[in-house]
């Protein structure tokens, strides 16, 4: 067992871990931060993405011991002072989630993307989210959600969604 100290969402934790303990298991099982999910065993799905020392990582492919001394941000730390992060707002406004299982990882990857590229094109968003699988949304609304957040973070008004989608259908015909 190795003693590690990790700062997660601004709070410092000291804990004993086995060498093989995966960071994702440390966060979920030892710290009780179950917002970070596990969706695969080969580092493809990205449900476990967290931000470590400013970069997004797949916490299923980092050992907890390797996070010793690191600063980690998980989905639980995204909202500050009870105010949703623009990305969270964007995912809500643009229906960027359905079952919600991929969402925490998707949010953290998008967070990393927007830190490094505040004004991404649609293609850059899609490329930037290549490490995250979503089985529900077909990514269409995730792209819109990230565009919404990017605009908000640049203090711009998010573009409205397409005219057809905005129509409130009058029922019956």
């Amino acid at each position: 067992m190795t003693k590690i100290t990790v700062k997660v969402n601004g709070k410092e934790y000291t804990s004993e871990v086995e060498g093989r303990t995966l960071l994702v298991h440390f966060l979920r099982d030892q710290l009780g931060l179950t917002g970070t999910h596990i969706g695969c065993d080969t580092s493809q799905c990205g449900a476990c993405v967290v931000v470590m020392n400013g970069d997004s990582v797949k916490s299923c492919t980092v050992l907890a011991v390797q996070a010793n001394g690191a600063e980690i941000k998980t989905v639980e730390g995204l909202a500050e002072d009870g105010k949703l992060h623009p990305l969270q707002e964007g995912f809500w406004e643009r229906h960027g989630l359905q079952c919600g299982f991929c969402t925490p990882g998707m949010l953290m990857s998008a967070y990393d993307l927007l830190q490094k590229n505040p004004n991404p094109s649609e293609e850059e968003i899609r490329h930037g989210l290549e490490g995250n699988l979503c089985r529900c949304t077909g990514y269409e609304n995730i792209v819109r959600a990230v565009q919404y957040a990017a605009a908000k973070m640049r203090n711009e008004e998010p573009a409205p969604i397409g005219a057809k989608e905005q129509v409130v259908e009058s029922v019956g015909s």
Partner: protein, 287 residues
């Protein structure tokens, strides 16, 4: 999802890593970015009893652009991608790195890890082969240089000794009249190459090919130079016709592999196509 138990050691210097390697011998595996090793361990396809983590070794994370380009083995893909200096000296590195995995893989994965692991479908090995890199390895007896041409021995096997650590990768800068490129057909699930081709060319003033190095990855058991193609190119024109003809020179003896994503036959055909595309792109960059 859960690896077998192992002893974990963090090495803070190359010397410390070498000492640990000497101590634990064959039982030990070096942990670099971990994006090949840890998934294999989670599936229990690999079960080393000792892991020596070289991530803490700061001296192995560096990009130096002088007469040559020297890159520390633990430099991450993301660092390679984001270095303006490197992009100016060797734009093909960023071109290739941007096609590797995904942002999280690029944040953790390292150039040294990609080479030392010798995954037959990794992208950078082909690029380093085409660029004619020199690798520096450090062992108990000191350092030695290994030409990239002598590095890849077989699938997942390199000429590194078990007690050696890959420390730096040295690459020539792109000179006048030179160009390089990397193109790949991507395996849609893993992001690895079904066929990846890297080319470096040097053109004469008259547009003929003065020198060329062409390498492929993904198609066979190890990343490989295509010397027949290089020989067919050199001295010839840099026209599309000439390049197409040269690309056809891929040897029928070249050992290739098939899997559920692409058969051996198809890979053989695609080696020619992607080789041609890489060379043409390299020529375009050169002119």
């Amino acid at each position: 999802m859960i690896p077998s138990a192992f002893e974990y050691y963090a090495a803070n210097s190359v010397d410390e890593a070498l000492k640990l390697l000497a101590e634990h011998g064959d039982e030990a595996k070096i942990l670099a970015g971990g994006h090949s090793l840890l998934p294999a361990m989670k599936l229990r396809l690999a079960a080393p009893t000792v892991l020596i983590d070289i991530n803490p070794i700061a001296e192995l994370r560096s990009i130096n652009v002088g007469d040559k380009v020297t890159i520390g083995a633990m430099t991450t893909y993301a660092s390679l991608l984001n270095s303006a200096e490197l992009k100016a000296a060797l734009p093909v590195i960023a071109e290739a790195v941007d096609q590797i995995g995904d942002p999280q893989v690029r944040n953790r994965g390292t150039i040294g890890g990609a080479l030392a692991h010798a995954d037959p479908a990794a992208d950078l090995p082909a690029v380093i082969l085409a660029l004619g890199g020199t690798l520096t390895a450090q062992g108990p007896e000191g350092t030695r240089e290994i030409s990239i041409d002598d590095f890849f021995v077989d699938m997942l096997t390199t000429s590194l000794e078990p007690n050696e650590l890959l420390t730096t990768i040295t690459l020539p800068k792109m000179g006048a009249g030179e160009g390089a490129s990397y193109v790949k057909m991507v395996q849609p699930a893993s992001g690895y190459a079904i066929v990846g081709a890297a080319a470096w060319v040097k053109l004469n003033a008259d547009g003929t090919v003065a020198a060329a190095r062409v390498a492929i990855t993904g198609a066979g058991p190890k990343p490989t130079r295509l010397e027949e193609v290089e020989n067919a190119l050199v001295g010839g024109a840099s026209s599309e016709e000439a390049v197409t003809a040269a690309s056809e020179a891929v040897s029928d003896e070249l050992e290739l592999l098939g899997d559920i994503h692409a058969s051996e036959d198809y890979r053989r055909a695609m080696v020619k196509v992607y080789t041609r595309r890489a060379i043409l792109k390299a020529i375009k960059a050169a002119s």
